[in-house]
Structure formats: structure tokens, C-alpha cells
């Protein structure tokens, strides 16, 4: 076993992270990550502030690190590999996603039941109705249209609003602020303002829920505030996390997934010509794997020495885990760069992360995507791109990858 803590021979040779995708390959992870994956289990990368950290690229190694209780997700620890400056107010990220157990567990468990498989399945008819209605409206409207505005964003926004008990009429406000919050290229002060605005908004909503509880998730949190299990601020922070995580991610999967399918017409044809729920389910998993939209990767810091691939990561060292390249690891997925909706075992992907922070909303995201991919291309069989691929604005600077706009016609 060699110790991996030796400094790299040539500091200039340590590549920057996040890396850039290749021109003309908007669906593939950066070539630099592929190169690193071939090189070895652990290599070094440099972040915006000049700090260097371990890069873990292989599927098995990423699962091992992410499920190890000796790593922390707390972005405030000195040496944590943050991909952008932390907001100046020093406040942490959003609620439990950047906390460690036991605090993480305490808070996550308060909102786990509403995302349980059976609870989420019961929402399917309501989701189907939302999706059908938005397709009706889009078809009745002008064309070409922007699929992001007309469809991809409203679907998950309407669903998460209903689940949380947030008025959808406020969507311009919270969508704009969510977008700012997760855009890396925006100054930290402005991102902090956006977060503050969302926190104030959720805090106001919590006040309403405490006074007039309804049958929704935020009212459930209100009950816990009344019982003294949770402070109102903690509840508002959780509300922001759920609201932002609940619509930005799924919206990007809908728009980017549609673009990927339009560029792979043989695969699109499978969905258009089938009403087999098993095919739709495997299509969702394969698109999650293939696109892995959370492209800035998981980040952790070691709390103790860890052995990975025969090398040692020392306590206090930062670890960067880009899930997109792990989902293209040829040792985990044969022919990983092929989009194959009938791939049998795509579900093993790490697009939702792994370990105790694995996506809480995944059952909901899955059902939303199953409903969307299962009906959109059947109801709009002539759906086509209304712009050149070169003119589509990709979210290279987003915490979540996708497209800012997707002009389509039919």
C-alpha cells in the first residue's frame, strides 16, 4: 500500500476542476475525467481557489467513499472542497444536505415519510393530470416554443408546490431565486441574497402554516415546531432545500433528457412506440445514468484515514467525486457511452448519489420522469428541435446541468 499524500511532481500538471466538456459532446462528461479514470483510482485536482484535493472517478470507489461514515459533507470544515466561494454571511448550505449524522439523520427523518415509495405512488394520478394539462396547453399555444418554460419547469414546480403546500402563483419568484442560488458563475453575494429571499419567503409560509395548518408537508413541519422538535428557522431551511431540490433537478432531466432523445432518434422511437411501463422505467434509469445532471459531483472531507484502491486519503483531506464519470465506468456499465434505454441494470447508477445523503426525493423524481417520458413523445410524436444544437445554451456554469432553453416545434 502506497501513501497517496505525496505532493504531485509538477504542480502545474494538476488539472482544474470542474473540467470542461468537449465541444460538440454536450451529453458526455469532460474528456479530462475519462483520462483520470484510466490513470488510477486517486488523482489530484485543483479548485478555483488553488486548493488541491483527491479525485475519485471509479464507480466502486465512489460508492465506497460516499457510504463511509468517516467522511463529512459539512461545507464549512476547513479544507472542504467547495467548487465556489461560500456566501459571505458564513451560513452553511441548505439544511441537512450539508450536515453530518446525527444532526443530518434527525432532520432528514422528519421529512422521509412523505417521500416513501407508497406515498409517492399515490401521487401518480395527480402528476399525470398535471402533465396532461401542460401538454394540452402547449399544443394549443404557438410554436416553436421553449420546452423549458412551457413544460419542463412547470411539471416539477407544480408537483413540489402541491406536496409542500407552497402557492404555485409565486413561481416566478422562487424559480428565479432558485436559478440564481445554484449558478456558480454568479457572485457569492448575489447567491446569498437569493438564499436569503427564499428563506424569508419560506419563513413567512411557515408562519401561515402554524396559524392555519393544511394537509401538506410544511404544515407537518409546523406541527413539529409546535411540539418543540424543530425551530421555525430549521423548518424554513428544510423548506428551501425541498423546494429548490424538488424542481431544479427534475426540470433539467425533462429538458435535457428530451434533447438527448431527439439526438438519438432510434431510442426516442422506442418510447414513442411502446406503452410498456417496464421500458419507461428502464428509460428513466438509463437517462439518469447517461446524463448525470448533478455534474459538479459530490464533495466530501475525510474525518479519518481512508484506504481507497490501495492508497490512503488522510484525515482532513478533501475528496471530489464526479458521479457523471462513475456512471460511465466501463467496469460498471458495459459500453458506458451508449444511450441504451433497454439496458437491464442502469438502476445501479449513482446519479442520486450514494451513502446517507442519497437523494431523498428520488421516488418522486422517478415517478415524475416516468409520467413525462411515458406520455410526451406519444402525444407529440412529431416533436422536433427548432434550433441548431450549437445554439442551445447549456448550463455549463450550473450546479445542475441542463439547458437554459429548448426551442421545440411539432
Amino acid at each position: 500500500m502506497t501513501t497517496a499524500s505525496e505532493p504531485a511532481a509538477d504542480p502545474a500538471a494538476v488539472p482544474h476542476y470542474p473540467m470542461e466538456r468537449a465541444a460538440g459532446c454536450p451529453f458526455d462528461p469532460p474528456p479530462g475525467l475519462r483520462e483520470r479514470q484510466r490513470k488510477g483510482p486517486l488523482t489530484r485536482v485543483r479548485l478555483w481557489d488553488g486548493s488541491t484535493h483527491w479525485l475519485v472517478t471509479r464507480y466502486a470507489d465512489q460508492r465506497a467513499v460516499m457510504s463511509d461514515p468517516r467522511v463529512s459533507a459539512d461545507v464549512r470544515r476547513p479544507g472542504f472542497p467547495n467548487v465556489a466561494p461560500l456566501p459571505p454571511d458564513g451560513a452553511s448550505g441548505l439544511s441537512f444536505v450539508t450536515m453530518d449524522d446525527p444532526e443530518h439523520r434527525r432532520l432528514r427523518r422528519m421529512v422521509t415519510a412523505p417521500f416513501a415509495i407508497r406515498r409517492v405512488r399515490a401521487m401518480r394520478p395527480a402528476i399525470q393530470e398535471i402533465v396532461d394539462g401542460l401538454i394540452d396547453d402547449m399544443l394549443a399555444g404557438p410554436k416553436p416554443t421553449d420546452l423549458v418554460e412551457a413544460f419542463a419547469l412547470p411539471v416539477p414546480s407544480l408537483v413540489i408546490c402541491r406536496l409542500l403546500g407552497v402557492p404555485y402563483d409565486d413561481h416566478d419568484f422562487f424559480q428565479a431565486n432558485s436559478k440564481t442560488l445554484i449558478r456558480r458563475s454568479i457572485a457569492p453575494e448575489r447567491r446569498a441574497e437569493a438564499r436569503r429571499a427564499l428563506l424569508d419567503y419560506l419563513d413567512g409560509l411557515m408562519a401561515d402554516k402554524l396559524a392555519r395548518p393544511g394537509d401538506d408537508l410544511l404544515s407537518g413541519l409546523g406541527e413539529r415546531v409546535k411540539a418543540g422538535e424543530l425551530t421555525r428557522t430549521e423548518a424554513a431551511r428544510m423548506g428551501v432545500l425541498l423546494l429548490v431540490a424538488g424542481h431544479e433537478t427534475t426540470a433539467n432531466m425533462i429538458a435535457l433528457g428530451t434533447l438527448a432523445l431527439l439526438r438519438h432518434p432510434d431510442q426516442l422511437a422506442l418510447l414513442r412506440e411502446s406503452d410498456d411501463p417496464a421500458l419507461v422505467e428502464s428509460a428513466v434509469e438509463e437517462l439518469l445514468r447517461y446524463l448525470t445532471i448533478t455534474h459538479v459531483g459530490r464533495r466530501r472531507i475525510a474525518l479519518a484515514d481512508l484506504e481507497i484502491g490501495g492508497q490512503v486519503i488522510r484525515a482532513g483531506e478533501g475528496i471530489v467525486l464526479p458521479n457523471d464519470i462513475a456512471n460511465r465506468d466501463p467496469d460498471a456499465f458495459p459500453e458506458p457511452d451508449r444511450l441504451d434505454l433497454r439496458r437491464g441494470d442502469a438502476r445501479r447508477h449513482v446519479a442520486f448519489g450514494f451513502g446517507v445523503h442519497q437523494c431523498l426525493g428520488q421516488p418522486l423524481a422517478r415517478i415524475e420522469l416516468q409520467v413525462v417520458y411515458g406520455i410526451l413523445y406519444r402525444r407529440v410524436p412529431t416533436l422536433a428541435l427548432a434550433a441548431d444544437l450549437e445554439d442551445i445554451p447549456f448550463k455549463h456554469d450550473g450546479a445542475v446541468y441542463g439547458v437554459y432553453e429548448l426551442p421545440v416545434t411539432w
Partner: protein, 67 residues
């Protein structure tokens, strides 16, 4: 095959319910795993093993009678 689940470790991701529905469920109250069948029939073995390998919290342990 004998299954042991660790409710303290479970994070309620739902992977096991999606994979082996007759064997695992989630509690109505907190979304945490509930073991419906600790000694499932041989036909369920492959699904149970997959569920254990997909569990992000390593909360499912399998003991094989044969070993």
C-alpha cells in the same frame, strides 16, 4: 436466507421497496424500513441481494443458511 435490517442506519431511500416489495416496506410513520419477511423464499433471493447492494446506507445484511 435470513435478512437483518438496521433501522438506525436506514435513510428511507426506498431502494429495497422498489426492488423486493414483498420483503421490505417503509413505515407509514417515518418512512424507515420495515422487514415484512425476514426469511423469504428462494425465488426472492436474487431481488433481496440486489436490494442489499443498492441500499445506500448499508442497512441490509443477509445471512445464508448454506454457509
Amino acid at each position: 436466507m435470513k435478512i437483518i435490517v438496521d433501522r438506525d442506519k436506514c435513510v428511507g431511500s426506498g431502494q429495497c421497496v422498489m426492488t423486493a416489495e414483498g420483503v421490505f416496506d417503509q413505515s407509514e410513520e417515518d418512512g424507515i424500513v420495515e422487514l415484512l419477511d425476514p426469511e423469504p423464499p428462494a425465488e426472492a433471493a436474487a431481488d433481496v441481494r440486489l436490494a442489499a447492494s443498492l441500499c445506500p446506507a448499508m442497512a441490509i445484511r443477509i445471512e445464508d443458511a448454506a454457509q
